[in-house]
Symmetry: C2
Subunit: 183 residues, 2 copies
DNA sequence: TAAATTTATTAACAATTGTTATCGTATAGC
DNA sequence: GCTATACGATAACAATTGTTAATAAATTTA
């Protein structure tokens, strides 16, 4: 389950009561938090730093999502369906994380209707996000996608290495470098 | 809200009790059920036929989703957020549809926990579907996407006009014709 | 049935992207 | 500080896709 903003949650439910379920974890850059093929047992919340979700496609890394401060993340398929994660989760910068165990997460889902409602909303938001990504890929050219990213999410351009952004845009790093050169 | 399978719902809740909320609607091919810019007031369930969701991109139609028998559909953004639909919903074949009004749908969501749970599950499924579409677009070439469609969803290839499939794959109809020629 | 429209194929050329390789710079680890 | 690695730019060429146009077949409409 991907939780967009836990601050949002904290305004709705008695957050402090369940604070003890969250453990802090400090990691350096390039730390793998979840491997492809592993069972996801934790959901993370990012206090500081950034993470990426990626997978191996015929020997080439493809990064398809970035996460920053105040965002939550886990491999949604693995976490919600109890199957091995098809993706890697890895830190890009040194990061300060907080995690909750799957069983505790599920307990909150069951016992606190407001928590479930907020997760429902977050799931809907995420669905729309993925739909927009999908739509952008079938209607926009790579150059347009890059310019849109630059305009709408400049923090990604600023903080993320370019070759990760290239795979996120669906092109090679060489092609992205050419696009940047033309602008 | 997109409901994948209302039969699934009917096995969980007292379906017959709410049957009167659904109205039948028979439409010929190429009937527009929801226009871009309109408010979505209905959720449809397809008994027979097929529909497509599409939008206009600089004068060119882009179809991004198809729906067939036993599937439910509406413009998710418009229906759940109460904003004008960014998409057109249109029949491809002559179709037998059943629809429920937004207010009745919301009533079911509120009053029947099982209904809400199933919609939650359907939303999660749909999220994974959009994520997979997104991933396929950044990792696979058009030819691979066409072959995958042919293998996994042959009914789409069989029933849908080719130029709609081309835009769904993110390419022109000319390019799709070339790809087919090579196979 | 005839005419109009829609749909799919193909060709020629332009534009874009992929592939492979080289190079210089920046960064991280020892 | 030094070395190894990572990162990004660029070049040359191949492969793919887009664009425009012409054509033929299929389907719809009158």
């Amino acid at each position: 389950m991907i939780v967009e903003n836990l601050n949002k949650i904290s305004t709705h439910i008695n957050w402090v009561e369940y604070k003890h379920l969250w453990k802090q974890l400090n990691v350096p850059a390039k730390t793998i938090l979840l491997k492809e093929g592993e069972m996801s047992k934790r959901a993370y919340w990012i206090e500081k730093g950034c993470l990426r979700l990626w997978f191996n496609n015929n020997g080439k890394d493809i990064t398809f999502q970035f996460f920053f401060e105040n965002e939550g993340v886990s491999s949604i398929e693995s976490f919600s369906k109890n199957i091995p994660s098809p993706f890697y989760l890895e830190s890009i910068e040194p990061s300060v994380l907080h995690y909750i165990l799957k069983k505790d997460f599920e307990m909150l889902m069951e016992k606190i209707p407001d928590f479930k409602n907020i997760i429902f909303e977050a799931t809907l938001e995420r669905q729309i996000y993925y739909m927009e990504q999908f739509l952008s890929l079938i209607k926009d050219k790579p150059k347009e996608r890059y310019l849109k990213l630059l305009k709408e999410k400049p923090h990604i351009i600023q903080r993320i290495p370019q070759h990760y952004i290239a795979s996120y845009l669906g092109i090679t790093s060489v092609s992205l470098s050419r696009i940047r050169n033309k602008i």
